[in-house]
Each structure stands twice: as structure tokens, then as C-alpha cells.
Amino acid sequence: MKIDSAIAANRFGLGARPGDLKTIDRNPTSWLLDQLQGPSRQPAELKGLPATADVLLEVQELRREQREMRQLADGEPAPDFVNTYGRTVRGHYTEQTQVRYRLAASTEHPFHERLVHFWSNHFAVSADKQPLSAIAGLYENEAIRPNITGTFADLLIACEQHPAMITYLDNQRSIGPTSTLGRRANRAQRDREIGLNENLAREILELHTLGVDGGYTQEDVTTFAKVITGWSIGGAGDTGRFAEGDPGTFEFRETIHEPGTHTILGKRYSQNGMDQGIAALRDLAVHPSTARFVATKLARHFVADEPSQSLLDQLVETYLESGGELTRVYTALIRADEAWLEPHSKYKSPHDFVISTFRAFDHVPENTRFVVGALDLMGQTPFRPGSPAGWPDTAEHWGGADALYKRIEWSNTVSRVVGSRVNPVDLGDAVLGPTFSAETRKAISRAENDVQGMTLLLASPDFQRR
């Protein structure tokens, strides 16, 4: 058994299931590369999910009812409404997390699936802002999944135009001060300036493309915010202000777009309407700062918390040469020697730990409440990073003392459920292969019983790292 097989399954993939290492052992590199072939996968598990537009309409309808009821009840939301709204939103969240984690536990393409989760975290929305909890999982499948093997530009545009991102970072509210509607509104109400909201523009530059040191200024942020005014969501929305466009889908609204030629990072954009923002995003996507930022995040996720400068240079070169062809960058990453040197270079996030546990048990949970509960307990509630920066990706962030203790408690709880159905030493061999250390094996073989042995396996440094 090659050590590379364990690295492929556990660090590049989502964790080995018993039997996986044997399959991968034929050729670990090809096993990974083959997962990138062909059109981006739409697994059968996703077929039953609704579209974002349908969910947004449902939620808006509930909000409209709420407003009406408030008017009847002198401003107090009726308790019935709170229940219905909460139940509806929770129902969507549960369904979407269910699909996500069942798929993660069972997929035959775990490297591809890890990439989906990686990009979903790079372009993070957070379910702590409504109505994101009802659509965050749909966003992952609609904007991220179909685009992760194409160019970064296409992925970027798909994310920035998805209603989830637009509402999460308030862009539907951002109005060009001298746009048709902006001027009219500002004439009407002198005391209040109708205008820009910089939120999305800033996070695109800081978190999605150039990175915070990528060479942009506050003026670039403000100008870019003007360029993407009008990037909105169709239909009347909550406010009932504008009604054009297909409800719940991306809509460019000319009437709030700030007109004129704008200069970002020293380049003039004279296009009209939505094309101006698209042109700016396409330039940002192939900017050297973006190449370095994306390469660093990928290498940090797949190789080490502090990847070497030479690896980064290699990835940046591939990125820029190919114009941001992501499959080319992934391939360069997989082909780099450095990616295979150290089998345990990454401390698993709770997300990694929980998924790899289910895969080790070869168990696809019927009801994922237990999964979501576990992630919640370990501080990584699905689709809820709490900020557009997404979840951190290094051991120093996940390595709190109490966090390790929670992992131990959960390992113990899971092991009690699994009981003595599986021999922990055999399982260690099956899923860790050559990365199962002699010390861990010895500790497990001396355990008082299989439940304790299984707790030791799951909480072992070998299993907690990838």
C-alpha cells in the first residue's frame, strides 16, 4: 500500500471508506485527476432540490403576509407567523444540509466534492442573515458546483450574480447616486442621501479576487461599488419598490446603475450597463494578485498551512499562463512533489473530521440532524461561517483546547453508538493505511473495549490530521 493512496483519500478527498485505499492504490494521481474530467458533476442526490427563485418567492410571500398581519396587529408579529416563517426556512436549511452531508458521506468523487466545499467557503455566504439559511445550500449547487472546473472568471461571475451573494452583501440596496432613480429619490428627500452600499464591492476585491494586499485603494472600492450598482434580484422583493425581472433571479436594473465611465486599478471601463461590471470582474479574475491569492488559498487547503514559496510560484504561473483555468491549477497542485511529502500536514476542520468519520464507518446518515448537531457543537455550523471571509483553514484557528475536548467527547459519543460492530484496529488499517502509526495502533490494541478503542482511533493525531 502506497502512502500516496492515504494522502489522496484523506487530504485531497474527504476521507477513506473501507476499501477505498485499495482502489486508489492502483494510481493515486489518476484517481484524483479523473475526478476533474468531463462536465462538472450534478449528482443524482441534488435532483429533488428546489430552485433558489422558488424558495425566495415562498419566503417573500411569507414576509408579505407578515407585513399585513403586523398592520392588523399594531406592529406585533403574530406568533403563528413566526412559527410558519421559522419552520419554512428551517425546512429548507435541513433539506439542503441533508443533501450536502449525505452526498459527502457517500460520493465516489470526494476530491471533486472537497473542491465544491472549498469554493463554497471562498465565496462564503452565511446563514445567520436571512433569508440565506433557506438558500445557502442551493447557492452552492447552482453557482459553485457547475463552475469549479472551468475558469475562475466564470466561477466568480456566477457567484457575484447569484441572489444569495447579492442579498448577503446588500448589493440590491446599492443605488447609483446619479442614476435615474437615485437622482429622483434624492430630489424628493433632501435629508437622506440615497446611494451606494460598498459591502459587495469591497468583499469582491478583498476576499474573492485580489486579496487584502492586492493593491486596491478605498477609491477603487467606491468606484467598483458604482460599477456594480444595478446588480440586483428580479421581482418586487421585500420592499415592493421595483417589480421588473424574473422574481428571485439575477436582474440588472438600469434605473439604479451609476452611469458613466469609471476607473478601477487604473483601467477605464466605458462599457454601458451590466457589461461594465462583467468586464471589471474578468480583469480582476486574471490579475496577478488574484492568481496569488487563489493559489495561496488552494495550497493552504490542500498542502499545508504554510505552503512553500516555490509551490505558490508554480501555481501562480500556471494560473496566469492558463488565464485562470482552474483544472490546470488543480493539476499543477496534484503534480507538485511537495503535495505528497508529508502525510499529516493539515489539522482537520470539524467539517473534515465529521465527514471523514462517517466515511470511515461507511455510513450515510438517514437523518443528518446528528451531523449538523455535531458540527454546531464543534463550532462549524454548516453554511454559517458568520462572515464573508468564510471558515478559517489553519490549525491555529481550529486548535483551541476546548475544541479538541469537544472532538474527544464527540468521538466517544459516536463510538458508543457504533459499539463493537467494528474492530478499531482493522478500521484504522483500512482508512489510514500506511499513515496509521505504531503508537496509535498500540494504544488502541490495549484499550479496555472496542468503544474505547474506537474513541482513541477517532481522537488520534493520525485521524485528526489529513
Binding site: 478583498e206 462572515s387 486548535g399 476546548d402
Partner: protein, 400 residues
């Protein structure tokens, strides 16, 4: 009830810990407590403590301006310039007892507007972005003498925020819904981790906080449920338990998020008012639960930067620069607002946009560390806040 003490002892940690001088007591004969509360997301200092007496305030704040003191739901008068947000009624009652200081127009040395870099600089104590990988409060622990298994500081969270990360051993704690692992399993884990420092130290640290939690029966029932305000109250209760436990930590760090009010920030009511109300309730819980220990306590409430002076197009505010900080507690020499007020006219602003910083956050921290935790100036200037000569300690923050 499971005792973690035996396991710690089995690891030799108890003996090491008890053979060392008891940290702050031995070193300074002081048992001062310090609590740092980080408001993540850039809290609006002009709403926390509004400069209602500034002639430009109403004009620049427009519909986000809060009513003057004396008006219905008006600001709580601090002095002739500043009023506290009406949701901070508990803090205001402490202000009346001279146990609150508001430090205004205060900022870390960071001058751009990224939350994440801003929090880095706030927490690592460096003069600029990306210079230090550990936190100032961890570096400040060195002269206090905490040790593995006998930590001087605790993060009230699963993971340790940057401000507490570093070479000095710290612990962390958060409520759990899961059954404890049994002692036999924990001992075996300790053996298994023996050759892996990352796991070995964390387990010892966690066992220490579990040991304290076990000795407080009420903590076993604590649950991280409820809304953010309720969770903050739970954490404040737990903080008080740790800070009053014998051999417990004397320094705690808490975090509260959700301050990034880009849209519909509200005034007397609304999103920000609710957050502030939750913060106020949490701080009052801490005061009540600390009981007699409150008199030895300083709580610092800080945020990474402030928000734009002008209201944005969506009834909110965007990322800005200077904000306000709150110091409260029985050890605070309060009842004042510390501000070299820069004004709100266009030319008074930083980049014609944000409140101009006139106080350095590091000066405030240095003042607290020096006078409350008796940390020597040389340590403060050399290791805790390197390159901070431009930010001398603030004087008289602490009761003499």
C-alpha cells in the same frame, strides 16, 4: 462527578503547577481580574457614545442621529458633548458610580478597512498588518507566570482568538451538550498524545478548564442555546465562575459578533440597538455574577474599527476608522469620557470620511496592563506592544 484533577496529576502537571509560584499572587500580591470583550464586525462608535454636542452631529448623522439627552428615548448624558446609547442603560448606571470610562476617537494603528486585517492588528498588538503571529494579551502573560495546567488566561470559546494565541499556555472553554469521556479514556488519550506536543498540550489545557467547570455544578447545565444575547449572558456567567474559581484563570476573553451594520442600522430601536442591549445585559450579568470580585475587575469592550460618519445609501454605515471603547468595572477610575475630540466637519475627518483617530487603542491597553495587572513598562514597550513608543500608556485609568 468526574474529577479531572487526578488525571492532571497523573500527567505530572499538578505537581509542576503547585511547585511553581502562584502567578499573580506571588508576583504582585494582586488578584486583579481582566476581561476583554471583542466586538467583531466594527461597532459604530458614534452610536455607542454619540457626540450630540458636536455642532455637526445631527447634520452628518442624518436619520441615524440619536435624540438628545432628555428627549424621549434620548441619549444618556455622559457630559456636554457625549451621550451613551439608550440601550446601554446598565453601563450608564455604572458610569454614575464612576466605574465606566468611555475612550473615544480611538483606533488601533490599522488604517485600512478590512475587518479581518483590522482584527489582526487589534489582537496582535503590532504597529501594522501581518507583523506578529501571536497576540498581545498572550505576550502580556509572560510576567504573570501562568503555566501548562495552571493557565492565567481563558478564551471563552472553543478556539483561542489571536489576542490570546502564543507561547504562554492558555485554556479555553465553552458549553457542551455531550457526555464526558470517562477518565480511563482520557488517561489513555494522554498517553497516546505524549509524543505529539500539539495534542498533548491542548488536552492538558482542556482538562484544566474542565476541572474548574466540574467543580461548579451549575456549569454542567449551561447550554449554548438561544439567541446571541442569551448566549453572551451564558458566557458571561461562565466567565464569572472561572474568574472566581480558586486556582482559576484571572484573565478572560469573550467575543461577540454581528456589529457590521451596513443596512438598516436603526437608532433607538433596530438592529444595532438590539445588539447593544444584549451587550449591556451581558455586562450586567458579569457584574452581578462576579459579585465582590467586581471591585477588582476591569472589562475592556473594543472593536476593530469604527464606521463611516455619514449614513450610506441603505440606512447603514460602511467600514470606517476610529470608534469608541468602553472600560468598566469596580477597578476603573471612571465617570469620564476620554477624548481629544477631532470634530465631525468634512475637513476634520480621516480621508474626509471617517472619525479621525486621536487615541491609540494600544495606549489604552497599556494603561490597563500597567496599572491594573502591574506589567512593567519595559515589557509593555518591548514585547507586548513592540514599536509602540508613539502610543504611551494612558494614565489614571485605574483606581489608585
Amino acid at each position: 462527578m468526574v474529577s479531572r484533577r487526578d488525571i492532571l496529576r497523573a500527567a505530572g502537571v499538578g505537581t509542576i503547577a503547585t511547585s511553581l509560584p502562584r502567578w499573580a499572587f506571588a508576583a504582585t500580591e494582586s488578584d486583579s481580574r481582566f476581561v476583554l470583550v471583542i466586538l467583531r464586525g466594527a461597532a459604530d462608535g458614534l452610536a455607542v457614545a454619540a457626540p450630540y454636542g458636536d455642532p455637526n452631529y445631527r447634520k452628518v448623522r442624518g436619520e441615524l442621529a440619536l435624540p438628545d439627552p432628555g428627549q424621549p428615548d434620548g441619549l444618556l448624558k455622559l457630559d456636554n458633548t457625549f451621550g451613551l446609547h439608550p440601550s446601554l442603560a446598565g453601563v450608564y448606571s455604572e458610569f454614575g458610580k464612576d466605574q465606566v470610562l468611555i475612550v473615544h476617537a480611538v483606533a488601533s494603528p490599522y488604517r485600512s478597512r478590512s475587518h479581518f486585517d483590522g482584527q489582526d492588528v487589534l489582537e496582535n498588538g503590532a504597529a501594522n498588518v501581518g507583523l506578529l503571529r501571536d497576540g498581545w494579551l498572550n505576550r502580556a502573560l509572560a510576567p504573570l507566570g501562568g503555566s501548562l495546567g495552571n493557565e492565567a488566561a481563558i478564551a471563552m470559546a472553543q478556539n483561542t482568538p489571536l489576542v490570546l494565541r502564543g507561547d504562554n499556555s492558555v485554556t479555553s472553554w465553552s458549553p457542551s451538550q455531550l457526555p464526558n469521556a470517562d477518565d480511563s479514556t482520557l488517561r489513555r488519550l494522554q498517553d497516546m498524545y505524549a509524543d505529539d506536543e500539539f495534542f498533548a498540550t491542548r488536552l492538558v489545557q482542556a482538562l484544566k478548564s474542565q476541572e474548574i467547570a466540574d467543580s461548579e455544578s451549575s456549569m454542567g447545565q449551561m447550554r449554548s442555546r438561544g439567541n446571541d444575547a442569551q448566549q453572551l449572558q451564558t458566557m458571561m456567567q461562565a466567565t464569572a465562575r472561572f474568574l472566581t474559581a480558586e486556582d482559576g484563570p484571572r484573565i478572560a476573553v469573550l467575543e461577540a459578533s454581528g456589529w457590521d451594520t451596513h443596512a438598516n442600522q436603526g437608532t433607538t430601536n433596530g438592529a444595532l440597538a438590539n445588539r447593544l442591549g444584549g451587550l449591556d445585559a451581558g455586562l450586567m450579568t458579569l457584574r452581578d455574577e462576579l459579585s465582590k470580585t467586581w471591585s477588582k475587575t476591569v472589562v475592556a469592550v473594543v472593536t476593530e474599527f469604527g464606521r463611516t460618519v455619514a449614513v450610506n445609501g441603505t440606512r447603514g454605515t460602511d467600514h470606517g476608522t476610529a470608534s469608541a471603547a468602553i472600560l468598566l468595572g469596580g477597578a476603573v477610575n471612571g465617570g469620564r469620557v476620554i477624548a481629544d475630540w477631532p470634530g465631525l466637519g468634512k475637513s476634520d475627518l480621516f480621508q474626509e470620511r471617517d472619525l479621525m483617530p486621536t487615541n491609540d487603542m494600544r495606549s489604552m491597553f497599556k494603561g490597563v496592563l500597567s496599572d491594573h495587572l502591574s506589567i512593567a513598562d519595559t515589557a509593555l514597550n518591548n514585547s507586548v506592544f513592540p514599536d509602540s513608543a508613539s502610543a504611551p500608556s494612558m494614565q489614571n485609568l485605574i483606581r489608585g
